[in-house]
Symmetry: C2
DNA sequence: GTTACTGCAAACGGTTTGCACTGTC
DNA sequence: GACAGTGCAAACCGTTTGCAGTAAC
């Protein structure tokens, strides 16, 4: 866990971002989480550890992190944005009930290539999210 | 155009929604638009026709329409939600520059079937949006 | 006549911003 | 010591809501 954290520390430093205890705290929470989190959720988890960050600090850093591609911003919730550490391109199967998340490999590489041939668009990126009900929630 | 409008009118009536001039105006704007629109954009287009709806009316109706599956809500813009008439399942290739939209057939039917076999999730829906630069914007 | 819908104004909630202070390098 | 980062409070802005009046059926 602390090894992983120091890997992210190196990444931030390479990007020219300073290593503050606030940033460490935010990344630690994201590292420990089994699913993407909103800024509010990060705040709550920090507060339960008696860590006192402001929401504005969290938002500002999440924005920096996103610019530097350290975290991904996900639109899997109507209300609030969710964030996860950037561990390469993938997609999510999200339980609509309990929010559990399964990571999926991208099924669209070929499709995207065909598309840029067919349309004359330069393809930049795509966003795919799949929603369902997980086995646990089904049996409830 | 007015024929198309009366088709939507029938659909609304079937769903038990009343046919008001506000609803007609909103659907007319969506019908005439070549791309999905935000509530604000709908308001602007209505104002330029001297039609005086409130934003709250537009939002309320878009929400009703979405519940009744008359329109789709699209998250193709970070800031504001966009809406389009529901003409069956498809996806969008959006120009990141000028917002032009190309409609795409869904490439994920098989993937979705495999997925529900592999994961024990009940698949509900998926959202896919592709972003690129259109030929016109490239040549600028 | 009943009830859904609309106008209007105010609230809501996630996110951003300005500014003085603080901590990293 | 310079300057990036933080705390704090206030603003921002898309969207929702309560309520009284109006229009669809």
């Amino acid at each position: 866990m602390d090894e992983k954290l120091s890997i992210w520390k190196q990444k931030l430093k390479k990007k020219g971002l300073r290593w503050t205890k606030q940033r460490a705290a935010i990344l630690k929470v994201l590292l420990a989480s089994e699913r993407p989190l909103s800024a509010q959720e990060i705040l709550l988890r920090l507060q339960s550890q008696n860590s006192k960050l402001r929401l504005s600090t969290i938002y500002r850093n999440l924005n920096y992190f996103e610019q530097e591609q350290v975290v991904n911003l996900l639109q899997i919730d109507q209300k609030e944005n969710k964030f996860e550490l950037n561990n390469g391109h993938h997609h999510h199967l999200v339980c609509a009930d309990c929010e559990e998340v399964l990571v999926l490999d991208c099924p669209l590489q070929n499709f995207e290539k065909q598309l840029s041939g067919k349309t004359d668009y330069t393809i930049l990126e795509h966003r795919l999210n799949i929603f369902g009900i997980c086995p646990d929630c089904k049996s409830k």
